[in-house]
């Protein structure tokens, strides 16, 4: 029984430390930004490469605000994609549930869909939009949101 309580203590401390790290934002944004990724989606469209393909993402209206209806537009070059793409909205370092935006074909290599970014009361403003390219991989665009 004593051993069981000791194990519970240890795991409990791990869980509490993880929760504290989430609260303090110590895991916030780890592994997301690099020098070439500092394009600002709140000012204009951003382009990234995955293999030999180019993916451009734009969000409107600007500035990008939470709890507003947003249009996500994606332009893909150099890869054959289907009728739909899926864009996933997430907050680095904080699990916010699965928030998928279905992007429907809106022209040659162009896709568009409507989504909402929920307000996070932790005050963190960094979000990421990840475009899933079947057979090619995923492209992640970090951006700041106004609350």
């Amino acid at each position: 029984m004593r051993m069981f309580i000791k194990i519970i203590y240890r795991y409990g401390i791990c869980i509490l430390v993880t929760a504290l790290m989430c609260c303090l934002g110590l895991t916030h944004g780890i592994g997301i930004l690099s020098a070439e990724e500092k394009c600002d989606l709140s000012k204009g469209a951003c382009m990234k490469t995955v293999g030999d393909s180019e993916v451009t993402l734009d969000i409107s209206p600007k500035p990008v605000k939470a709890m507003e209806s947003l249009i996500f537009s994606v332009h893909v070059k150099g890869v054959n994609t289907g009728d739909n793409l899926v864009l996933e909205l997430a907050m680095p370092g904080m699990y916010m549930g699965d928030n998928h935006v279905l992007l429907k074909k809106a022209g040659e290599s162009r896709y568009s869909g409507e989504g909402v970014i929920p307000r996070c009361h932790s005050g963190k403003t960094l979000w990421s939009a990840t475009v899933d390219l079947p057979g090619k991989g995923q492209v992640e665009f970090p951006f700041d949101v106004l609350y």
């Binding site: 869980i15 609260c23 507003e68 904080m94 916010m96 549930g97 699965d98 929920p118 932790s122």
Partner: protein, 230 residues
Amino acid sequence: MSSIDSVYVLMFMTGLMGGFGHCIGMCGPAVAAYSISVGERRTIAYILYSLGRITTYSILGGIIGLTGSFLGITKSIEKLQSAAIALIGSTMIFMGIGILGWRAYFSRPGKAASKSYLTSLIIKSMRTISETGGLGVYFPMGLVLGFIPCGLLYTSLIAAAGAGAAAGSRVEGLLRGAAMLMLFGLGTTPALFLVGRLSSIMSVKFRGRLYRLAGGLMIITGAIYISRLF
């Protein structure tokens, strides 16, 4: 498994994963505090609190599923959410005051009688709230806490709006939305229950100090909730 069934599984999993990855950080201190403070009947208190929260989630999910509109509904309940934050924040502060034994003022004989009816009513309510041994406070507390704005809850409500918009009829949308949010709420319960149990196990050894710590935590958490209004 049909796509509708998989949505329900996904909602439960969202609650379960979010419970450990999100709710522990955001609501853990409050749950830990009341688990320590409630005494021997903590399991019943937790069930009542969870039932209250799941009831609110289901109602919100049902309304959003019925209308198929996430933004329309969330904008219309903003004032209600602010009231919920104020109510739950002040409740937690008064519970904390009760735990720390600062409620002597509210219990002083004859003090309430000399004030106006409204003041007396407020003091009486504060005294009731600060009597944390009563289980009656936990279901309404859960009901109110369900309205607290939360990013993870919003994501689930967005999914309910999508399901409602895709439903064949409004009644189907209402039922789908309510069921999705009920499963989401159920999914969040194990993580918070674990926090509560851990706090209880630890409180056996350090009851006196942790009991006072719980009171302090409740006052701080209540103050944080109220600070969100500004």
